[in-house]
Symmetry: C2
Subunit: 136 residues, 2 copies
DNA sequence: TTCATTTTGAAAACCCTTTTCAGCATAGAA
DNA sequence: TTCTATGCTGAAAAGGGTTTTCAAAATGAA
């Protein structure tokens, strides 16, 4: 699990726990919760504490190496490696699967506001509905 | 505060606490948190418990009379009366003010998904940036 | 008014996340 | 390599919003 980091980011102390969190994120095929990352690491036999996972995730987000995703109406945050792509997700209302969207409606859109001006920095968009397995 | 409900919704027992929550929501000029609703009611001299406010809000949402808004990266949910309009909000990154948007980018947009099909039911969109008071 | 049923008060539990602080590990200096 | 300052983790507890519990109180139908 620790064989894929080519070079360690400068200024970060290299610890077993940080290597593991990064490795899990690199192997992840979908955004993961702190608990999922924690379980994955423990399953591999490494000892970590949940609070440490949270600390490491916070650090990675602060350094721009990871992205925190807040799925609406879900109380747990998800994390993934920052691959520097603008993206949005669709969430299945039945199985809660998360599916990546490949386009963005905000590209060609000028928002109008009730109040006067608003300097737009970014946006979050989430589609909800039913995935192909749960559509009936 | 209890002077504006023309007729009480059928099947709902009329209690002081429910009247108050509805009254606060009717007077609100922006989405409110459970705590804000609770404070407002107590400020008017009525005795309520926070858990009761939560219970009432849950009931109103379940009945479609209120809408729950989950502002991303904020851990408190907001509630407002369901006025049956499709809308989105912009959130100021500095003062956290919430400003209503008057248009929606999803109106003329067909999402493309990484996985195959996804049956779209709805969407959440949130713009973030700086309001006119906080833009510098 | 009486009674069955809901609703609330009051407190505690929940769940995810953050904080605390002492002990330990790490990286850089010697 | 060894030493040392600094940063990181373990372990536990606290935090903050929200939900649950259960007995007591209030509601509305008869």
């Amino acid at each position: 699990m620790k064989d894929i980091q080519p070079d360690w980011p400068a200024g970060l102390k290299k610890t077993k726990q940080r290597e593991c969190v990064l490795a899990v994120l690199e192997h992840a095929r979908k955004p993961l919760s702190a608990m999922e990352i924690y379980s994955e690491i423990k399953r591999d036999g490494t000892s970590v504490w949940l609070s440490t996972v949270y600390r490491i995730l916070e650090l990675l987000v602060k350094r721009g190496m990871a992205v925190k995703i807040a799925v609406m109406n879900s109380e747990t945050a998800l994390y993934e490696l920052n691959r520097f792509q603008h993206k949005h997700y669709a969430v299945c209302m039945n199985c809660h699967k998360i599916i990546q969207m490949d386009n963005c409606p905000m590209e060609k859109f000028l928002p109008k506001f009730q109040d006067d001006d608003f300097q737009v920095i970014g946006h979050n968009l989430e589609i909800y509905g039913f995935c192909k397995d749960c559509a009936h």
